[in-house]
């Protein structure tokens, strides 16, 4: 996977992970992939719902030792 940008949103509480992801995504080109790292459990459902609502594609997500990683392709 070719990742264009990585956003570290660890330790940020809702709504900041989505706010930051949205801001970062605005600076990217369609088709580019953003990797987002979070620790807030609420961000799991919210980032997926936000991506869907904004026309982006959630390619993959995983959890490792309390850190959630998301790969979102800009739509």
């Amino acid at each position: 996977m070719n990742i264009a940008k990585v956003l570290d949103a660890k330790a940020l509480a809702c709504p900041m992970p989505v706010v930051r992801a949205r801001k970062t995504m605005k600076e990217m080109e369609t088709g580019e992939i953003l990797e987002v790292l979070t620790t807030d459990k609420g961000s799991v459902a919210d980032l997926s719902a936000w991506a869907k609502s904004s026309g982006h594609e959630m390619l993959d997500q995983k959890e490792d030792a309390g850190v959630f990683t998301f790969y979102i392709k800009k739509g």
Binding site: G42, A45, D46, A49
Partner: protein
């Protein structure tokens, strides 16, 4: 204009008073569909906060100015964010402090009635999740029944009343919420009672709560009589308090009955459920006041916020007690079950003492409605 925090307690009082107000719930749609603040005169709007990041202009004309507006999210962060945007547009709004997390944990104590020899019985209404706990108080002592994991609330309440908790009981092994019973019993050095048939896998000491067993509270004789009443679980036990109150656990509710499937044995237990509701309960006095361990709908709350109804009234009005045909009854309680409560298997394991999740995990496990009934 202003943004004001509203506590879960303040919101509970609005719901109990059946006030008319407006909720802007900014969680995502799945979360809102699954579980929300319920009330008889609440007007709702659900727009996820991430759809409002560009501003609230699009929704402004749908938000009333003539009633209280409460913005709600999971933990409060997003609701403050949105409330501030509304405030910048000239609105006075509230947000729910600590969000649905606080709503899930709030307990509202309500006195249900006095006992014959002095003393009283209190109900703790967990309004956000529909769980009901009880405290029977007499002559300086208290018994706590079906306590939730917010154990401080019970212990502080006993302190305020100037009584000592001596007995702690659970009507059954719960699957929808984590019991605080064992923790309270340990803290006050009291006795923790569990029905033995629900406790075959528990990893801690308990006192077996068997049919016919009598527990006294205080020197005055306020008896709690155990009545074996299986069906929701194989061990489910009801209590008759002071010959006046029937604590029915998760067997009989106000407008529904217990579901038999949360331990995976619906087909086996449906016969027990039928036997309890249509035989054992029929032998009891009809003027017993039924005090269940749950409510399903906010409409089941009385005007003072309590959940209680005479057994005779339930025999007349509760649909689940009025299905003559046994096959039809069987079909109703096994064929048409609602989704199971969130994390119910992990919750059962926790209540057996087999796993010990941290507090944050326990909180997450309990998110959502209780779903212990069938209608």
């Amino acid at each position: 204009m202003t943004v004001t925090a509203m506590t879960a307690g303040e919101l509970a009082k609005k719901v109990i008073a059946k006030e008319s107000f407006f909720i802007l719930d900014v969680r995502n749609e799945d979360a809102f569909e699954d579980w929300k603040v319920e009330g008889e005169n609440i007007q709702y709007m659900n727009v996820p906060y991430f759809d409002l990041l560009d501003g609230v202009e699009d929704v402004l004309d749908q938000i009333p100015t003539d009633k209280d507006v409460v913005v709600i999210c999971a933990k409060e962060g997003s609701s403050i964010f949105v409330a501030e945007m509304l405030s910048e547009e000239g609105r006075n709004v509230h947000y729910l402090q600590v969000g649905m997390k606080a709503w899930s944990e709030h307990l509202e104590p309500v006195k249900v009635g006095d006992l014959k020899d002095g003393g009283a019985i209190y109900q703790f209404v967990r309004i956000g999740k529909g769980c009901l706990s009880y405290m029977v108080v007499s002559d300086g002592e208290a018994a706590v029944i079906d306590a939730t994991r917010m154990t401080d609330v019970f212990m502080n309440y006993a302190n305020e009343l100037g009584v000592t908790i001596t007995n702690v009981l659970d009507t059954h092994l719960h699957a929808d919420h984590i019991s605080g019973g064992r923790k309270i019993a340990e803290a006050v050095n009291g006795v923790y009672w569990l029905p033995p048939k629900d406790a075959t896998e528990v990893v801690f000491e308990y006192e077996p709560l068997e049919d016919g067993r009598t527990i006294s509270v205080g020197n005055t004789k306020i008896d709690i009589q155990a009545l074996y009443s299986p069906g929701h679980t194989i061990g489910s036990t009801s209590f008759i308090v002071d010959d006046a109150y029937l604590l029915s656990g998760d067997i009989l509710f106000i407008d529904s009955i217990g579901r038999p499937d949360l331990a995976g044995l619906a087909e086996d237990w449906v016969g027990d459920l039928r036997e309890t509701l249509y035989r054992r309960y029929r032998e009891l006095a009809e003027d017993l006041m039924v005090l269940p361990a749950h409510f399903m709908m906010i409409e089941e709350l009385n005007a003072d916020g309590s959940v209680a109804e005479k057994l005779g009234t339930l025999f007349a009005k509760n649909h689940g007690l009025n299905i003559e045909d046994e096959a039809e009854f069987r079909e109703m309680v096994t064929g048409n079950l609602p989704p199971q409560p969130n994390a119910y298997q992990e919750i059962r394991q926790t209540n057996m003492g087999k796993v010990v999740p941290d507090e944050e995990t326990q909180r997450e496990m309990e998110i959502g409605p209780n779903r212990c009934a069938v209608r």
